[in-house]
């Protein structure tokens, strides 16, 4: 094992925010090849913001993002496009193109970025849909699919070009526990079968315990990483009260109805 080449994503001293609001400060971490890396944190802690900055949707205020040894932020033109093709992104809503069938959604990246013969593309689409367990749904429109099926199609589309890394933003949001568990199982299988590296933003404890190899927890107050490690380690051994509260699903003291200070009250 070559230690250096084993690092597929390196985030160095990343700081980000919107307008006057600073959300993330000095975030640094590394993701290893083939692992399921999960970013956790409470609502408003900047999980999705971090993800959007790693995938290059927004430029960070400071810091660097390295994908497979190449700096995403300094890459331009064709080099950037080539780098972007090494990863796929699954958005929280699925973001499927509503005017296209399931098969057309999955096929779109193949049409745009490969010169595969038509027959091969058809077989690849068929293989992708098989992998995500949606054989037979090729001709359906996204509006005809359940939430869980839409997420699976979104994964198939994100995998269309056989990326090395998949980013998922809240994959289990809005799904029932059984469907969410099915999605977790799919992520584990994809990681095991094809060696895909996963970076997942979630606050679903069930998913974290089921699939995460390593997690980082973001702190909404400081905008920094509060804890990093294996889920079991953090759950069992972390002395940080915020981490303990997260893993044990405990409310923050002062936020129960009898204690909360309402916005607009005179003592605010």
């Amino acid at each position: 094992m070559n230690g250096e080449s084993d690092i597929v994503i390196a985030v160095r001293h990343l700081a980000a925010g919107y307008g006057d609001r600073q959300i993330l400060r000095d975030i640094s971490f590394e993701v290893r090849r083939g692992e399921v890396f999960v970013i956790i944190g409470g609502s408003g802690s900047g999980k999705s913001t971090l993800l959007k900055h790693i995938i290059g949707l927004f430029p960070p205020r400071q810091g660097e993002v390295w994908i497979e040894g190449e700096n995403l932020l300094s890459a331009q033109g064709e080099a950037r496009t080539r780098l972007l093709r090494r990863f796929g992104v699954v958005y929280q809503s699925g973001a499927l193109f509503g005017s296209m069938t399931v098969a057309e959604n999955v096929r779109l990246p193949l049409d745009e970025f490969t010169d595969l013969p038509e027959v091969v593309k058809e077989h690849v689409v068929s293989a992708k849909l098989k992998v995500v367990g949606l054989t037979g749904a090729a001709h359906l429109m996204p509006a005809e699919l359940s939430g869980g099926m839409q997420k699976r199609v979104a994964i198939a589309r994100a995998m269309a070009l056989d990326p090395h890394i998949l980013f998922l933003d809240e994959p289990s949001a809005g799904l029932d526990p059984i469907t969410a568990a099915g999605l977790d199982a799919l992520i584990s299988q994809l990681s095991r079968y094809f060696g895909i590296t996963f970076v997942i933003v979630t606050h679903d404890l069930g998913s974290i315990n089921a699939i995460a190899d390593r997690v980082i927890m973001l702190d909404a107050q400081s905008g920094t990483i509060l804890a990093e490690g294996r889920p079991a380690e953090l759950r069992e051994h972390s002395a940080n009260p915020s981490v303990q509260r997260f893993f044990n699903r405990q409310a923050i003291p002062g936020q129960t109805m009898s204690e909360v200070k309402f916005y607009g009250s005179k003592d605010q």
């Binding site: 013969p117 090395h164 079968y193 094809f194």
Partner: protein, 378 residues
């Protein structure tokens, strides 16, 4: 895992006695490397007429699952239709996945498409949709009339603040563009009519043409069509998005009628702002014609006298009456199309388009009726 994921895929084809062929695949197989490999295997395997094919995938790494397509094609005899195919070295999990995948009836799955309806079916579906649409329009019209009557009886329940907001966004904000376009159309009519009228020495009648046209036709029609494109489409998109986001369902389950809560204010705003904007359109159109006439050497007093002689109060009343009806049409149709929105973001776009097309059609239809009735009455 230590192997770089970009290692190119390699193949080795060994033909043995008795029609036995072995294909050894090595490296990382993904959609980028598969095209070349697919073509190479096709070129080398098809002529061999193999009786047995063994695919050795021990040193092959599937990246992302695209390579499964090739393995499945090999396993189902795509290149070697007469051969018994075995794939080894994939590992238990992937082997099972490939076995399940290869077992599926790919032809049946591929041909499972939507059936194209026949011509009579399409005609029938289209007629049914038109009848349903007409029924919905009539029901909506009746409901709106009832709600308007109800609002007059109980004006305290009417959301005037929302009407004011809509009048500002759909009306006041549209004033510059409506005025500019009307001015330009007034100029255009002036220029176009100047040459033919000059042949008869009757250029003074440009004032009649522009004044009469702006008050009776140009003003109400131009305003209504511009508002249909600008504000009617916005009403449809706004209500359509609310439907897609289940906000209409939330209103209904709260016991609030979406028509009373959303459409009533919009239609009222449409009926108030259209005649107001029409006044500006009339004035801007007449100003356009006046500018052309000033350029032709007529004096302001000549133009004024000619215009006031040709345009009467009942013409202005007629134009404004039409504009109230047109305002009700574009705002009502915009709301109706919004309520008829289907599922997904495309449905919102479809609703906005339908709102504009239906509004313009109905406005011109109504204008024709007004013209015919006006002619018969006069």
């Amino acid at each position: 895992m230590t192997e770089s994921p970009t290692t190119a895929v390699q193949t080795e084809v060994q033909a043995q006695e008795g029609g036995r062929v072995t294909v050894v695949l090595r490296g990382a197989l993904d959609v980028q490397t598969m095209g070349g490999l697919w073509r190479e295997l096709e070129a080398r395997l098809r002529p061999l007429k193999a009786a047995a094919l063994e695919v050795d995938a021990t040193a092959l790494r599937l990246c992302g699952g695209g390579g499964l397509a090739l393995l499945r094609f090999l396993k189902t005899g795509g290149f070697t239709p007469m051969a018994k195919v075995t794939v080894r070295g994939l590992g238990e999990d992937l082997d099972q996945l490939l076995w399940l995948f290869a077992d599926e009836d790919s032809e049946a799955a591929a041909t499972e498409r939507r059936r194209t309806p026949s011509l009579p079916e399409e005609v029938g579906t289209s007629v049914r949709a038109s009848v349903r649409d007409l029924r919905e329009q009539i029901a909506f019209l009746g409901k709106m009339a009832a709600e308007l009557a109800g609002a007059m009886v109980h004006p305290e329940r009417f959301r005037w603040r929302e009407v004011k907001r809509l009048c500002i966004t759909a009306g006041a904000n549209a004033l510059p563009i409506v005025s500019l376009l009307s001015l330009l159309v007034g100029l255009m009519i002036g220029f176009e009519s100047a040459a033919p009228l000059a042949q008869f020495g009757a250029q003074i009648f440009i004032a009649n043409m522009v004044g009469f046209g702006a008050v009776r036709e140009l003003g109400p029609m131009m305003t209504a069509i511009m508002l249909a494109g600008r504000s009617g489409a916005a009403f449809a998109a706004e209500i359509g998005t609310m439907k897609v986001n289940e906000e209409l369902a939330a209103l209904t389950t709260m016991g609030l009628d979406p028509i009373r809560f959303l459409a009533l204010q919009r239609v009222t705003a449409g009926m108030i702002l259209t005649p107001l904007l029409t006044v500006y359109t009339m004035l801007a159109g007449m100003l356009g014609g006046t500018l052309v006439m000033l350029g032709l050497g007529f004096s302001i007093s000549e133009i004024y006298n000619q215009m006031t002689a040709s345009v009467h109060l009942h013409d202005i009343r007629f134009g404004l009456s039409k504009s109230i009806v047109f305002g009700a049409i574009f705002s009502g149709v915009g709301c109706l199309r919004g309520f008829q929105t289907g599922q997904g973001p495309i449905a919102v776009g479809v609703s906005a388009t339908r709102a504009v097309v239906s509004s313009i059609l109905l406005i011109i239809l109504a204008d024709t009726v007004f013209a015919a009735v006006g002619f018969l009455v006069s």
